[in-house]
């Protein structure tokens, strides 16, 4: 009997966790969208709930596109997108607010003499048009392309910035940032990409078009391999009191530290 009760309790919890973007009532803030923003929005939600005990925060990781659709259809308070809104999306009455920026570092092994590549060359490398490091000033080694698995936000961001969507000739598709860094650190011919905040000393981030990736160059926009973390809201409808409070909190300077520690560059 006890088992049964526990089972019911667990099922109820699981169901509650799965509902995610439910209806908007007072006292709840529902967000829906980009999986890349999971860390940032999760940390912000946690901090917000801590200081506002009456308000429940939910986040449904569905992807940028689904998040934008969800907010347009009123299924959640705030949509999360790791790309800017398209013109036709803005025309649907949606407003974007940039919460933070995320730099993607292009990394190589520290033994690699190459220090700088431009965006076009990176694209050519990933599409398999340049296959040897000696063609771009490195050693005579075949380039080993390390990437992330299909669906990863970092992969999506990298491919769209370098214009290599669905065309990358990956040698390895790894499932975490840590694995990418470990692999690149262990192979002198490897090139990979990872969120700037997670890059460690075991690998060397390349400068892109002469610009070294750092919090400053990401923020002023000169480092181009970056993408925005965007909050999407409806232009004509007002947010509920709780959602407005959350929105104000995460776009205030108070939240900057949390955003930085979650690996992104705050802009507000």
């Amino acid at each position: 009997m006890k088992k049964f009760v526990t089972f019911i309790a667990i099922s109820a919890l699981a169901l509650a966790a799965m509902t995610g973007c439910g209806k908007t009532e007072s006292g709840t803030v529902s967000t829906d969208g980009s999986t890349s923003m999971e860390k940032v929005i999760g940390a912000l939600g946690e901090a917000f709930e801590e200081s506002n005990s009456g308000i429940t925060f939910t986040y449904n990781p569905t992807g940028s596109g689904s998040g934008i659709t969800a907010v347009a259809e009123g299924r959640c308070d705030i949509g999360l997108s790791s790309r800017n809104l398209k013109e036709e999306e803005k025309a649907q009455g949606l407003t974007e607010t940039v919460l933070a920026l995320d730099g993607i570092a292009v990394i190589v092994n520290p033994e690699n003499p190459v220090n700088d590549l431009d965006l076009e060359t990176i694209g050519k490398i990933y599409m398999g048009e340049i296959t040897n490091w000696k063609d771009i000033g490195g050693n005579d080694l075949e380039i080993v392309l390390i990437g992330r698995e299909a669906g990863s936000g970092t992969r999506d961001g990298f491919e769209s910035i370098t214009g290599t969507e669905d065309a990358c000739q990956y040698r390895q598709e790894l499932t975490s940032t840590g694995d990418v860094i470990t692999t690149v650190a262990g192979n002198p011919a490897a090139i990979g990409y990872a969120s700037l905040a997670s890059v460690k000393e075991t690998v060397k981030p390349l400068s892109v078009g002469g610009i070294v990736p750092s919090e400053e160059t990401v923020k002023d926009g000169s480092y181009v391999v970056q993408r925005p973390f965007v909050l999407v809201t409806k232009s004509d409808t007002k947010l509920s009191a709780a959602a407005q409070k959350f929105f104000d909190y995460i776009t205030s300077s108070e939240a900057n530290e949390i955003i930085s520690s979650a690996g992104a560059v705050p802009v507000n």
Partner: protein, 291 residues
């Protein structure tokens, strides 16, 4: 009094039956769930395109869902692991049960037990840090993450189950068989391979089944050393197994999308494979017993 006893007996029988049925229930639940969630994608993609398609590009603008590379990789990888692991494991078992002095036996048996207890993510990590760079340097290839690395890791992972089960089978062979053979003038080695091993045949076959089962179902360690690019299997190429195909994309696939459904279909294919292997070996075991 007697009635009360009988009631008690019946009640306990009932409870035991229920506990037994939990396992059956789990198997049924998983089977039904997999079939229900795996069928729609196969229908939509077409069974031929799904099973024999050579290209997997689940998130491309024009998605393609062909899992032939995964199927072949899983088959080659498992076969490779069996080819490497079974001879080593089998010979170790023969040595341990018949030849090894007691002290050596204790040491090796402890080591084997420890090997069995190592979590697969640790195998993967060591493989990633040592084996993959090792293969790259040894074979002068640009990158060591390959089918070969996966086969080596799998072969090591299946060793404990093969050694332990074969060992039990070999030790269960009646001493009289061996004594008779020795008395007839056969050398010890002849006795082990002509008498003990055939007598333990079904147990050794069971060891191979366990090995196949563990190898084909392993995901974590493989994901870290095989590279995961959906290529057709080649020894020195990055490859993706059925298990890793499901594991690597599941976390990002949107609910209800064709991609997620296709991942369930892959799981269904894997499930059918394991069923098929079990059924096949059961059949062989039964036949060898009837002889």
């Amino acid at each position: 009094m007697k009635n009360k006893n009988r009631l008690m007996e019946n009640a306990i029988h009932g409870i035991f039956l229920m506990l037994g049925l939990i396992t059956v229930g789990c198997v049924l639940l998983i089977t039904v769930y997999l079939v229900i969630s795996g069928i729609p994608a196969v229908r939509e993609i077409g069974i031929f395109n799904f099973l024999f398609g050579k290209k997997w590009a689940s998130t491309a603008a024009q998605p393609q869902y062909g899992i032939l590379p995964f199927i072949l990789t899983s088959i080659y990888g498992t076969a490779g692991a069996i080819l490497v692991g079974v001879p080593i494991g089998f010979m170790t078992a023969v040595y341990l049960s018949k030849i090894a002095p007691p002290k050596v036996k204790t040491v090796i048996e402890t080591a084997v037990s420890l090997l069995a207890g190592i979590p697969s993510v640790v195998y993967g990590l060591v493989g990633m840090m040592v084996l993959v760079p090792g293969i790259r340097i040894a074979f002068h290839i640009p990158d060591g993450a390959s089918l070969l690395a996966a086969i080596i890791v799998l072969a090591i992972m299946i060793l404990p189950s093969i050694i332990k089960v074969s060992l039990t089978a070999l030790e269960a062979v009646p001493k009289e068989y061996e004594d008779a053979s020795l008395a007839l003038g056969a050398t010890p080695i002849e006795t082990y391979f002509r008498v003990s091993v055939p007598a333990a045949k079904s147990g050794i076959a069971a060891a191979v089944v366990l090995g196949v089962g563990r190898a084909i179902g392993e995901a974590m360690a493989i994901m870290m050393v095989a590279g995961n690019a959906p290529n057709m299997p080649k020894m020195f190429q990055s490859v993706r197994f059925l298990t890793t195909a499901v594991a690597s994309e599941m976390s990002y696939a949107a609910d209800g999308s064709l991609q997620k459904q296709a991942l369930f279909s892959i799981a269904l294919v894997l499930f059918l494979f394991i069923m098929l292997i079990n059924a096949m070996l059961n059949f062989f075991l039964k036949r060898s017993k009837e002889k």
